[in-house]
């Protein structure tokens, strides 16, 4: 159990029988009824929310849809922390616990090494104390990390795995990858975590049991995919978010590789480009990308090329370094035009991209009115919410 003394100082008390969390040595099963909500999606329909329940070892979708975002903005500094908003979810989403997948400009998720993490933590600027926007922390910052400082004097010990830690106003958590020499680090400003922890008020369902970055939540969204399970958790997944693209390689269900695709644009920018190049209005873009009336491949190709190059590099890395041979790649998060991306991948790498429904592998409710009708492409918008809930339910520290 961790006790926070000040904003930046915490002490850890180890209770007998593994109580109070810890470094992952004693793992327990997560809650059985969780609503996953993507916070800050920017979707005009609202925040994607999916409530999952576990019955007899299987995950059931209780409800899915869009919920009205809370009144008030997430704070951008410590001073704004006092403007605490509260959020009440509709009845069908009132599970005991909520897992929030947060996508703001200040969150980050990256693969790093323990040494690099330590050096970075020791020398990190007071990012959260500065004006927001001056220094963006994101996937792109992976390349700007300082080199690992091996054996540097006064090196701070690496934080325990799976335990949220504060440093210089940033809340972060690390987990080792399947390849133990690497770790994955996820974080966001401390004041934002504190604000989010009180967003869902005490005494009312739900309250926050998990706050993850959106990209971190995506990592868990693939765990219940039937094809992923069939492959014994050995897969390469291409996550395409609104503003970034990254690869995640899995070995026996554990994360093995996390690589951001440098120079790649997210699907929002690609969609806007298609819209402009082909002279389409807002309603026509998705139909063009999902149907075969007009071939948007020439417009997509410049975006696809660096991504497919990185895909090839990643596949080669997994094959040579970890003997993980990939015959198909999951493409998740792309709400439209997945078939064109798969065709381009097959032409270039002879590897198809598979885009299953985000709800694949989950039991759908008997009453259809709690989940809107949608196809595989439209379901991708719920990926973050599903991933957040799955992570909170399946992986309890």
């Amino acid at each position: 159990m961790q006790i926070q003394l000040t904003k930046t100082k915490t002490i850890e008390v180890k209770l007998p029988f593994g109580g109070g969390g810890g470094s992952g040595g004693s793992r327990r099963r997560g809650p059985s009824d969780v609503v996953g909500v993507e916070f800050g999606s920017g979707d005009p329909r609202g925040c994607p929310a999916v409530r999952l329940t576990r019955k007899k070892g299987r995950l059931h979708v209780y409800a899915a849809g869009f919920v009205k975002p809370p009144e008030g903005e997430i704070p951008q500094s410590w001073e704004e922390l006092s403007n605490q908003a509260t959020w009440a979810l509709p009845v069908e989403y009132q599970a005991p616990g909520a897992a929030l997948a947060v996508s703001t400009a200040d969150v980050f998720l990256r693969q790093t090494t323990p040494d690099a993490l330590t050096a970075n933590s020791m020398s990190a600027p007071k990012a959260a104390l500065e004006q927001p926007g001056r220094k963006k922390i994101g996937l792109r910052s992976v390349k700007q990390e300082p080199a690992p400082v091996a054996g540097s004097a006064g090196k701070a010990p690496a934080p325990p795995a799976g335990v949220a830690t504060s440093n210089n106003g940033t809340r972060f958590v690390v987990q080792p990858l399947a390849d133990e020499s690497f770790i994955v680090e996820s974080g966001m400003p401390e004041y934002q975590v504190l604000w989010l922890s009180r967003l869902l008020p005490e005494g009312k369902r739900p309250t926050a049991v998990s706050v993850q970055t959106y990209n971190a939540a995506l990592l868990s969204s693939v765990l219940n995919q039937p094809e992923f399970v069939e492959a014994d958790g050995n897969a390469l997944v291409l996550f395409m978010t609104r503003d970034s693209v990254f690869f995640a390689g899995y070995q026996e269900g554990r994360l093995l590789l996390l690589r951001e695709c440098p120079g790649a644009q997210g699907h929002l920018f690609i969609r806007e480009t298609v819209k402009k190049r082909l002279g389409l209005d807002e309603e026509m873009v998705d139909s063009v990308l999902n149907e075969s009336l007009i071939d948007p491949t020439p417009v997509l190709e410049p975006f696809a090329r660096p991504i497919l190059q990185q895909l090839e590099i990643s596949m080669d890395y997994l094959s040579r370094r970890h003997a993980l041979h990939v015959d198909r790649v999951f493409l998740l998060g792309l709400p439209s035009g997945a078939q064109y991306w798969s065709r381009m991948s097959e032409d270039a790498l002879k590897v198809p991209l598979v885009t299953p429904s985000a709800f694949a592998g989950l039991e759908m409710p008997a009453k259809g009115n709690r989940v809107p009708e949608m196809d595989e492409a439209q379901s991708q918008v719920f990926l973050g919410a599903i991933g957040a809930a799955v992570a909170a339910m399946e992986v309890g520290e």
Binding site: Q2, G24, V173, G187, A208, E397
Partner: protein, 248 residues
């Protein structure tokens, strides 16, 4: 497939809020207050009960103190009554142990042969026994030590010859004497009766010059039984009536 360990939760356990409307941090003080109030009520009840019991105890003690003299008086009376009853029982036992010899003596005169002169008839008195246990202080308490007291009768007299004495002894074996005297003729038995202590010639002579014989015979009498008399048994008629009633 191994555990994925992909839950990169930025929330600490201490920051997780309870969704239950019953909040521990609210309920704990409330429960503590309720527990304190419960303890106070319990203590008040105990104190009331203690006070009540103390009052009852003092009233009972006063009552006992007031009755101590009467209680001592009753105890003394009960002791006296027991003593009196013991005396009465003793008297009843003495009464029951009384042996009547008058009839026997009257009949003895009738059966006495002419040639026998009785010089002495003695029923020896048993030496008094001290009932006080050894080492006991105070006046000795005389009385029988057992419930049965052996009695005997000695007949001493003179006769010119042996025959009249034998005749007397035969006469004393008659049923009218055996109610009082016990006759066990076998001389080998230790409690044989009569026992001839002496049968010898007297030094003096009669008028006709013959020598007389002196005899000393001891007869065992029925013992004195110091027991309370048994209540009279119901007569046969009454017993028959009882049986008849049962049969009915």
């Amino acid at each position: 497939m191994k555990s994925s360990r992909l839950h990169l939760n930025l929330l600490r356990d201490t920051e997780k809020l309870s969704s239950s409307p019953v909040r521990l941090r609210v309920m704990l003080p409330v429960m503590a207050l309720l527990a304190c109030a419960g303890c106070l009520v319990w203590w008040a009840m105990l104190a009331t009960q203690l006070l009540l019991v103390k009052t009852q105890v003092s009233s009972l003690q006063d009552d006992i103190a007031g009755k101590e003299k009467a209680h001592a008086n009753i105890l003394a009376q009960m002791t006296e009554a027991r003593e009196k009853q013991a005396q009465l029982d003793q008297l009843e036992m003495y009464s029951a142990a009384r042996n009547l010899y008058g009839g026997m003596f009257a009949r003895l005169a009738e059966v006495m042969p002419i040639r026998v002169q009785i010089t002495k008839i003695e029923i020896p008195e048993q030496p008094p026994q001290n009932l006080m246990p050894p080492g006991g202080k105070g006046k000795p308490v005389w009385g029988p030590t057992g419930t049965v007291e052996r009695m005997s009768m000695r007949i001493m007299g003179r006769t010119p010859k042996e025959t009249p004495v034998l005749s007397l002894m035969e006469s004393l074996e008659a049923p009218e004497f055996t109610n009082t005297l016990v006759v066990v003729k076998d001389p080998r038995l230790p409690d044989a009766s009569p026992k001839v202590h002496s049968f010898r010639q007297d030094g003096s002579t009669t008028e006709d010059g013959s020598r007389l014989l002196l005899f000393d015979i001891e007869y065992r009498c029925q013992p004195r039984v110091f027991e309370k008399p048994q209540p009279p048994e119901p007569s046969r008629d009454e017993a028959g009536k009882g049986k008849g009633d049962k049969k009915k």
